[in-house]
């Protein structure tokens, strides 16, 4: 119901990519991935093939392939769709990765809220074992054994960060590690580990099914191939779309029916808030990157409400390890609340923007580094939205608030299946934007 255009994965035959990959030497598998130019689809965009190359080179007996299915960025739900519709492609991708780097075990770190999919995924894994595509001697290859198990996350946003995810897998607090060493050298249980996003792994299968040239043929120079986008908010047709990298934001808005937007959060809470005068921007790593989340805010949205909501999210989801992230997000949140009341002085706003800039450079991980983005975007592009004088809460604002809540409710709804919603009618969505 949420797939809105043609998704390449639908046309990839199961195991075609895996079989093709297993016919090659591991080294040449890695070269093909590098050749394709595939970049991590979780948001950071690190070249997948290079990551594999490092892990293959690293010494360690028990290498691990981890599929990051902790899809936690507010407004992204494309991994959920991939896992629900094409789980084989993801497991194939993991198997190819294992073959390439010499790993014997794989773990899917599944977002707590996706627990309803676990049974289906386990069944899929079992089928693959029965078919000889998982477990001992995969596809009849004497010297290649690899199996996958599913590990449930517990709802912390930061556990989508690869090193925090590994800590969590090891039973520790989900806190990002110091790097170096990177997980490709010292990862899960101190062995070389690769952590790849669900979508990246599915693209790997597609690349081996269709060839790396096919993938490189689409997209831009720095961002080859295609990207799944989760589009939500004030649009007529919310859902999952596939576009080649380099597609302009206005094209995407047109497709989804959100051309009259006031602002678009590209990349979720940790991304940037794009104003209408920049809707011509291209979605790619050279211009405006995204892990797949596109949240559209219509004309009637109060962007300070939006910023407040995102900042609350970060204040709560910071692991708390770095002072500047743990407390910085609280201060930005307090600042937004002051702004809403028209009581933030220019001096304080300047202090907060300066603080935001420090958060971007001094935090240990991506969460902290990107957490002030939306705040800074609002101040930069939507300064008119900030009341200049103290305001009293009137009926109009109350209505605004209610509307705003509804918007986030609709975003939250997109995270869930109907069955999930029925089961958790009163449940709170810890990781999504709270309603």
């Amino acid at each position: 119901m949420t797939i809105r255009n043609t998704i390449t994965f639908a046309s990839i035959p199961t195991d075609k990519g895996l079989k093709a990959a297993l016919e090659k030497e591991p080294k040449s598998v890695i070269n093909d991935v590098i050749e394709s130019g595939l970049r991590g689809c979780g948001g950071a965009g690190f070249p997948t093939g290079i990551k594999w190359k490092f892990a293959a080179k690293a010494e360690g007996a028990q290498k691990t392939v981890i599929c990051n299915a902790d899809e936690g960025e507010p407004g992204t739900f494309k991994d959920r769709v991939i896992l629900a519709e094409w789980p084989d492609l993801v497991f194939e991708g993991m198997t190819i990765a294992a073959y390439a780097i010499g790993a014997s075990s794989g773990i899917v770190y599944l977002r707590a809220e996706y627990a309803y999919m676990r049974k289906m995924l386990e069944e899929c894994l079992e089928k693959r074992r029965q078919a000889g595509m998982l477990g001992a001697k995969i596809a009849g290859k004497e010297d290649f054994s690899f199996d996958i198990h599913i590990h449930m996350g517990s709802g912390a946003y930061v556990c989508g960060e690869e090193s925090a995810l590994i800590e969590s897998l090891e039973g520790k607090r989900g806190e990002p590690r110091n790097r170096p060493p990177f997980p490709v050298e010292i990862g899960y249980e101190n062995a070389p580990t690769i952590v790849n996003n669900v979508e990246s792994l599915a693209w790997v299968s597609a690349i081996f099914a269709n060839g790396s040239k096919w993938f490189k043929g689409a997209g831009t120079k720095e961002s080859p191939g295609y990207k799944l986008m989760s589009i939500s908010g004030d649009v007529k047709l919310p859902g999952v779309y596939e576009f080649p990298f380099g597609t302009t934001l206005s094209t995407i808005l047109e497709a989804a029916g959100g051309e009259d937007a006031k602002a678009v959060a590209v990349g979720g809470a940790s991304g940037t808030l794009v104003p209408p005068n920049n809707f011509a921007c291209k979605i790619c790593f050279e211009d405006v990157p995204t892990g797949g989340s596109i949240i559209v805010f219509g004309k009637n949205r109060n962007l300070l409400d939006v910023a407040e909501n995102f900042q609350e999210f970060f204040a709560d989801e910071s692991c708390g390890q770095c002072t500047i992230c743990r407390l910085g997000n609280v201060k930005l949140l307090e600042g937004i609340r002051l702004m809403k009341q028209g009581q933030c002085t220019d001096q304080h706003l300047e202090d907060l923007c300066s603080l935001g800039a420090s958060m971007q450079i001094a935090s240990k991980c991506g969460l902290g580094q990107t957490s002030p983005n939306v705040f800074l975007s609002v101040v930069k592009h939507f300064r008119d939205e900030i009341p200049r004088h103290p305001v009293a809460e009137n009926d109009d604002q109350k209505t605004e608030k209610a509307k705003s809540s509804n918007l986030f409710q609709s975003v939250v709804q997109l995270f869930r299946t109907d069955a999930d919603t029925a089961k958790n009618n009163s449940g709170t969505n810890k990781k999504g934007v709270s309603a």
Binding site: P180, A315, G320, T323, I324, L327, S354, L355, I361, K364
Partner: protein, 646 residues
Amino acid sequence: MSGKTKTATKTAKTEMITITIDGKEITVPRGTTILEAARQNNVHIPTLCHHEDLTPFGGCRLCIVEVEGQRVPVSSCTFPVTAPVNVESTSDRIRRSRRHTVELLLSEHCGDCYSCLRNGNCELQTLAQECGVRDYPFGHPTEKTCSLDLSGTSLVRDMDKCIQCGRCIRTCEELQGIGRFKFSGRGYNKTVSTYLDRGLAEVACINCGQCITRCPTGALTERDDTPEIWAAIEDPEKHVVIQTAPSPRVAIGEEFGLEAGNAMTWQLNTALRRCGFDKVFDTNFSADLTIIEEGTELITRLYKALVEKDATVALPQFTSCCPGWVKFMEHEHPDMLPHLSTAKSPQQMFGSVIKTWYADLNGIKPENIVSVSLMPCTAKKFECSRPEMTDSGHKDVDYSVTTREIARMIKQAGMNLPELAPSEFDDPFGTATGSGIIFGATGGVMEAALRSVIEFVTGLKVEDLYEHADIIPVRGFEGCRYAEIKIPETVGPVPELIQHLVPNWDWLKGQTVKVGIAHGIDNARKIIKDIAAGGKFSECHFIEIMACPGGCLSGGGMPIPTTQEIREARAKAIYEEDKQYGETGRARKSHENPAIAKIYKEFLTEGPCGHKSHDLLHVEYTQRGKFMTDATTGGEDVKNGKDKTK
């Protein structure tokens, strides 16, 4: 324990790499962190969560530096040198971000510097100055929001001052292997917590206070007993005496601006008298007494095991003068308590003797004596509060105070310690021996015991076997040490003092006495594991264990900060003082102490381990276990629950 040793061994054969920091060329072994490289070359980078004894954490983000090729600055405490890069330790955005970090810390640090025990020795104060904090753009709370944890006898925890650097967590986990603190919660709810956030008295904390000496602020402090002591001094009815342990004497100068390693023993006597203490005694007297009692106990155990073939005798015998170690055993190895020597610690032996023998000799009612001890230790406060430490019929030691507390008293009395004239200790205990002094360093109790045991058994002078009577094999800072002492084929006569216990030494002829030494509970655990596995420590006869890394000289009550360099300087001062005793004709062996001979002649007339000794100088321990009951949570539930702090 020592980060330095680890790095040195790890990088001994690795290649050297030249980097530049702020334009200055620096060559370091591959793998050295940028912070280490900078410090070795006098480039100052501010830090907060970093402590050289602990694993780098990289959480405070104060030490960030610009590294060529890195998109954003990196934390220099965790970033290893692996390539010849350019590093900038300061830039506009780095200075700004450091200032922001400190401003944020101040926004949650309920800081009333004037009334804080750490006023003047607080890393947050220093950083605020260094980083250019001039106002509080993000606020600065003045109202307390957390209640003080005053549940313990030794430590006070003030979470309003905690800045979550995690040094207490790493100290307790890495150095002590105990782990009483953990981070709990997330985001703005994150905090440093104990198991179920209980008070320190309700968790299996051993009160060693190592967390205090590594806390950058006043969030962890000793329980301040000085007001009670001033009150006792002011009370004309009270006869207030103080015993001073060797470690505080070599370190208290640091509180008055001296370099580490300057002993202030004799100036301190003057200062304490001027504070109003009626008598100043030397804990070394009771350290010597401990050696005699504990050594005799060891000889008795060995005789029973080797000659009488009594299989029930617990060997190896562990020292019991460290109250942190004793409490650890009570919590975690209650089944091994018979291995602990029953001899009380020097503090408690002195306490018993002061309120009995000394009171009698001087015609003072024991209830009018206020007995204070100056210790390097916070666990001593717990020890003197144990209900069993009342063998004199009163609380044997009324107050145990730390080096830091006594330094504050001296400052309050308007004295500058280093400028004072030296003076002697008071009689009848006089000045004790060098053996008592070395109790302060790891291996010191063992060396002191061996000096006496060797002379007792061989009839020879220790100097004939070890130059200057320095038993070098048991010295040093290695975490777990093992040594063997060969008893010659010719033995001497049994000294009169213990003739009632053993008839002769023939059974020890040619035997090898095996001893072990550990400091830091994490190392003690290794020894216990080795014993359980039947390793070489299981064959030991006697093992000395001190809870604090380095021994008492870096105890939880000592001046802050502590580093390996400071510990080494204090150790040097301790051994220097022992050496001076030899040179000035003072005794260096416990059994040569004239006051010891006197007490066995006049008071403990049945000799060491005799009836009276047993009543006053020995003690039994409590099987505590790891699961503590708590009235507020309902004892049973807690007992059955799992200890999540482990």
